[in-house]
């Protein structure tokens, strides 16, 4: 792996040792498949090729697993690189394997030549017979679930997986808290959250909120990022701005949140900036606009903590969702607050007033008339919202449950 960004004079040929076995297997299975298609199983050339496959396996480090996922091949979970010819052959092998319902080959020990000829014959013919080969397990990987960004997978499920993967990555970052900021991992989290939102926006905003379990720092940081992304999407910001705002939110939240509560936002931003700037250099002549703007946004809040009104509006959104997650786990209480409590708690905060639009966006994402919210009806009577729709909110006034005729106002927000 090259660490530097100097342009190397290579032939663009893969030379990673890890994928060598996969490349050998693909080459030899391809030749075996073609030979069997032309000469049949009993031809000496076919036997010779099958023997070559067996020899190749014998020479490899066992056990190993190969997965064929769309156009990619993985060996022991690592992506395998091919030259263009090898890539074309891998597609042919993957296609033949898919035809017999196989996406994964796990090899424990060297199979017999006869078994390899049987496998090659099935690949050549495209007719699978649930072949059982000692030393080699052939299986489908959750057959029928393929589909980019929830295309054929149920969108909510796809979104949930993306969120869980983001959570896992956030935990990786949190584990090295205080170290240099892993831009690439941060970007990967953002990409997953984007895919989750594209697939199923409501699930994306509610999944981490509603799923049971402890509200850890990474979970709250990812949730803050999800809310920031959703708010920016609702307002209609362009994708580059959303990514910058999301990444900055993630960095500040992962740096500033504590198991209970969290640091003041400007202090969190200052520490996040230290982390972000320590890994800014990419070795390129120019730092990409995403990194530059992410740093700029975090810096905006860090360098003038008292002048909130001069912050970039996206920095004020960052503060809102950050405080949302700080408040979620109050330091002076042993319980966690839910979405409704959080919205109500945030509304009267002074910093909300600098950009009340963001709170309205948050309210729209979380749910406009969240049960538990204190509201005032048109007749002046106050009560607690039980549910209902925005046009017919059910309000408990102490004496009765009333169905309001008009929408009550959001606390702290000018309509």
């Amino acid at each position: 792996m090259s660490d530097s960004l100097t342009i190397r004079r290579t032939s663009w040929m893969p030379d990673d040792a890890q994928g060598r076995t996969a490349r050998m297997m693909v080459e030899r299975l391809f030749v075996l498949m073609r030979t069997l298609a032309v000469h049949g199983p009993s031809h000496p050339v076919s036997v010779q090729i099958a023997q070559a496959v067996a020899d190749g396996i014998a020479a490899a480090e066992l056990p190993f697993t190969l997965q064929f996922v769309r156009q990619a091949v993985f060996q022991d979970h690592a992506l395998v690189m091919f030259d263009p010819g090898g890539f074309q052959r891998s597609l042919r092998v993957a296609s033949a394997l898919a035809a017999i319902g196989v996406q994964q080959i796990a090899v424990d020990h060297v199979p017999s030549v006869d078994d390899l000829i049987a496998l090659g014959s099935e690949l050549a013919s495209g007719h699978g017979t649930a072949l059982q080969i000692p030393g080699m397990q052939l299986r489908a990987i959750l057959a029928g679930q393929t589909g980019t960004a929830g295309e054929t997978v149920e969108p909510a499920r796809f979104a949930a997986v993306m969120l869980l993967r983001s959570l896992m990555d956030a935990e990786h970052i949190e584990a090295s808290r205080g170290g240099a900021w892993p831009w690439s991992r941060g970007a990967a989290i953002l990409r997953r959250l984007e895919r989750a939102t594209d697939a199923d926006a409501p699930t994306s905003t509610r999944f981490l909120e509603a799923a049971p379990g402890e509200f850890t720092v990474p979970r709250r940081a990812v949730q803050a990022t999800v809310l920031a992304l959703a708010a920016m999407r609702l307002v209609g910001l362009d994708v580059a701005t959303r990514r910058v705002g999301g990444h900055a939110t993630l960095a500040v939240a992962l740096t500033g949140l504590r198991p209970r509560g969290g640091d003041a936002f400007p202090a969190a931003a200052t520490r996040a900036l230290d982390q972000l700037r320590s890994t800014l250099s990419t070795g390129r002549s120019k730092i990409d606009p995403h990194r530059l703007r992410t740093c700029a946004l975090v810096h905006d809040a860090a360098f003038r903590p008292e002048a909130r009104s001069r912050w970039h509006p996206v920095a004020r959104l960052m503060e809102l969702v950050y405080e949302h997650e700080v408040l979620r786990c109050p330091t002076d209480a042993s319980f966690d607050l839910g979405a409704v409590d959080l919205l109500s708690a945030l509304a009267p905060r002074s910093f909300v007033q600098d950009d009340p639009g963001w709170l309205q966006a948050l309210a729209e994402i979380v749910g406009r008339w969240a049960p538990g919210m204190k509201v005032e009806l048109e007749d002046g009577e106050a009560g607690v919202l039980l549910g209902g729709s925005s046009t017919k909110p059910m309000v408990f006034t102490g004496a009765a449950v009333k169905v309001g005729r008009a929408a009550p106002s959001l606390p702290g927000v000018e309509e």
Partner: protein
């Protein structure tokens, strides 16, 4: 667009990437050829396949036996479509080619390339379509496998189970259950109502106008520009990005729209800490409206005086002078700036502040503001005395007019050398009254000037006014009788002095007392003296 043009485009890109590979950076001549080739196909989108490049359905590169090895890693990284913008430059084409050349068949290299594209690295010159990379194939194509029990990917299900504290029974279809049961999970028992209160038919909370306003403010180019420029100033790692000149230009453009006191503060503080980058930026930042915009912004900032003092200390003498003038100009109409100017004078020292000024270019409002600012000071005469010789003629009355009456005459000696210049229609209308108001001392100063100049250039009205003041102050006889009798003084001036003397019989008698030289005086003066004597008779 012919197939030949398409192939030419493909070959031009291939050549650029290969030269970048060979030389370590792209060659501009090859970049020019690529630009021309792209223009020849009307900047058509270039579609990336695993082993071929296409423009629409025509193969631009690859196909057949021809292998283009550098394409595959790029395809694996997820790049699918590149369309040059109208504004694309040769440098941007070269940069893209260098990034393509850097993309090796290694996961780390692919990720770097993908991150660069995702982060908008090519956004200034190109529109880019990026799809899921091969590295993300599993979670995008087989999402359940990403957390499947057999640990297809690192961590897998066990990691998820641990994170969610085992409450979710993450068996084969656990994720599906979790997702589908969200509504149930999201139910608050105490109210037995769903948290999911959003329905398609409900009107949005946010009015579209509010969204549009927020969107505008969030995406305003000048805000981002300012935000970025500030970060570049503060973060040395970002300074490799831009030359100080370019940053200064960027800042100047944005400060014209959004003048930001904090940015100026940062810049000035950095200069005072001997930051050479900030110094170079500040040096290049100057634009004509800067001083005015700055003082206006400082006026409405609680910390404005401190930042302004910092700025004055950090910038070139020429710019400091312009800022000081703008401050005086602003103080003439904005009381907030008067306060700031007073603070600046206190903190810098009046002497130092005055030294910043280009006195000969002082405009009347600035002069008035300066006079007002120094009016209460005991050392006003010492401070302003040395300026008197250089204050421009139109500004002088404003400066003196802002000073207390008792101060003005004390400045008169400093004006001595300028009487010839100040006379001629100017003195009588503006300057003289200021001295006359100053009482005896002021009147004496003027009278001495009048004597020294033999009344040359003085108007009749002015002389008459001065004469009356001198009569009132008891100085007429001492100072003006020699003038009345001087043959060097114009007859009109001498007559005007006689007019003034009429106010006091004693003075009139002294003036009209006959003497032999009168025989040679002009007839009008002799007539006026006669009339004074005639007036004197009835009085007796």
């Amino acid at each position: 667009m012919s197939p030949k043009d398409v192939r030419t485009l493909g070959r031009a890109l291939d050549a650029l990437v290969r030269t970048a590979r060979t030389h370590g950076s792209a060659v501009e001549a090859a970049g020019l050829r690529l630009r021309d080739a792209w223009l020849a196909v009307d900047r058509a989108p270039l579609r990336f396949g695993a082993t071929e490049l296409y423009v629409r359905d025509d193969v631009a590169l690859g196909g057949g036996d021809e292998e283009v090895r550098w394409l595959l890693p790029i395809f694996m990284a997820g790049l699918r479509l590149v369309t040059p913008r109208e504004t694309v430059t040769v440098q941007e084409l070269c940069q893209l080619a260098e990034e393509l050349a850097r993309c090796e068949p290694e996961v780390a290299s692919l990720e770097r390339f993908r991150d660069w594209l995702w982060g908008g690295g090519a956004a200034s010159g190109f529109e880019v379509e990026l799809q899921t990379s091969f590295m993300e194939a599993v979670e995008a194509e087989l999402p359940e496998a990403a957390v499947a029990p057999d640990g297809f990917l690192e961590g897998g299900l066990s990691a998820v189970r641990r994170r969610l504290a085992g409450v979710m029974a993450l068996e084969e279809d656990a994720i599906e259950l979790a997702a589908l049961d969200l509504d149930a999970v999201a139910t608050r028992e105490e109210f037995d109502a769903s948290l999911d209160a959003e329905h398609d038919d409900e009107p949005p909370v946010m009015h579209e106008a509010l969204r549009a306003a927020l969107r505008y403010r969030c995406e305003e180019a000048s805000r981002w520009s300012l935000c970025e420029a500030t970060a570049v100033l503060a973060i040395p790692a970002l300074q490799a990005e831009q030359t100080p000149d370019a940053l200064a230009r960027q800042l100047a453009d944005t400060l014209r729209e959004h003048f930001d006191v904090d940015v100026i503060d940062l810049l000035a503080s950095s200069v005072r800490r001997n930051d050479p980058f900030a110094r170079a930026v500040l040096h290049g930042l100057d634009f004509p409206e800067l001083p005015t915009a700055a003082v206006r912004a400082f006026a409405h900032d609680a910390d404005g005086h401190r930042v302004l003092a910092n700025l004055l200390a950090a910038v070139s003498p020429e710019l400091a002078s312009r800022v000081a003038h703008a401050l005086l100009d602003g103080a003439a109409s904005d009381t907030a700036l008067v306060d700031i100017a007073l603070r600046i004078i206190t903190s810098l020292g009046a002497q130092r502040f005055i030294a910043l000024l280009d006195v000969p270019s002082l405009r009347p409002p600035e002069a008035h503001a300066l006079g007002s600012l120094l009016a209460e000071r005991g050392d006003a005469v010492e401070l302003l005395g040395p300026l008197m010789a250089r204050v421009p003629r139109p500004a002088l009355p404003k400066l003196l007019g802002a000073l207390p009456a008792e101060v003005r005459p004390r400045l008169a000696p400093s004006l001595g050398s300028r009487w010839p210049e100040l006379s001629g229609g100017f003195v009588e209308s503006q300057l003289a009254p200021l001295f006359i108001e100053g009482g005896a001392a002021g009147a004496r100063v003027l009278a001495e000037a009048l004597v020294a100049q033999h009344g040359e250039g003085w108007s009749v009205e002015s002389v008459r006014m001065l004469g009356r003041a001198l009569v009132g102050a008891g100085l007429f006889i001492e100072l003006c009788i020699p003038l009345v009798r001087s043959k060097r003084v114009a007859a009109a001036v001498r007559v005007a002095l006689c007019d003034a003397a009429e106010a006091d019989p004693e003075v009139a008698a002294a003036v009209s007392r006959w003497h032999p030289g009168e025989l040679l005086d002009p007839p009008e003066l002799r007539a006026r003296l006669r009339s004074l004597r005639e007036l004197e008779g009835p009085r007796r």
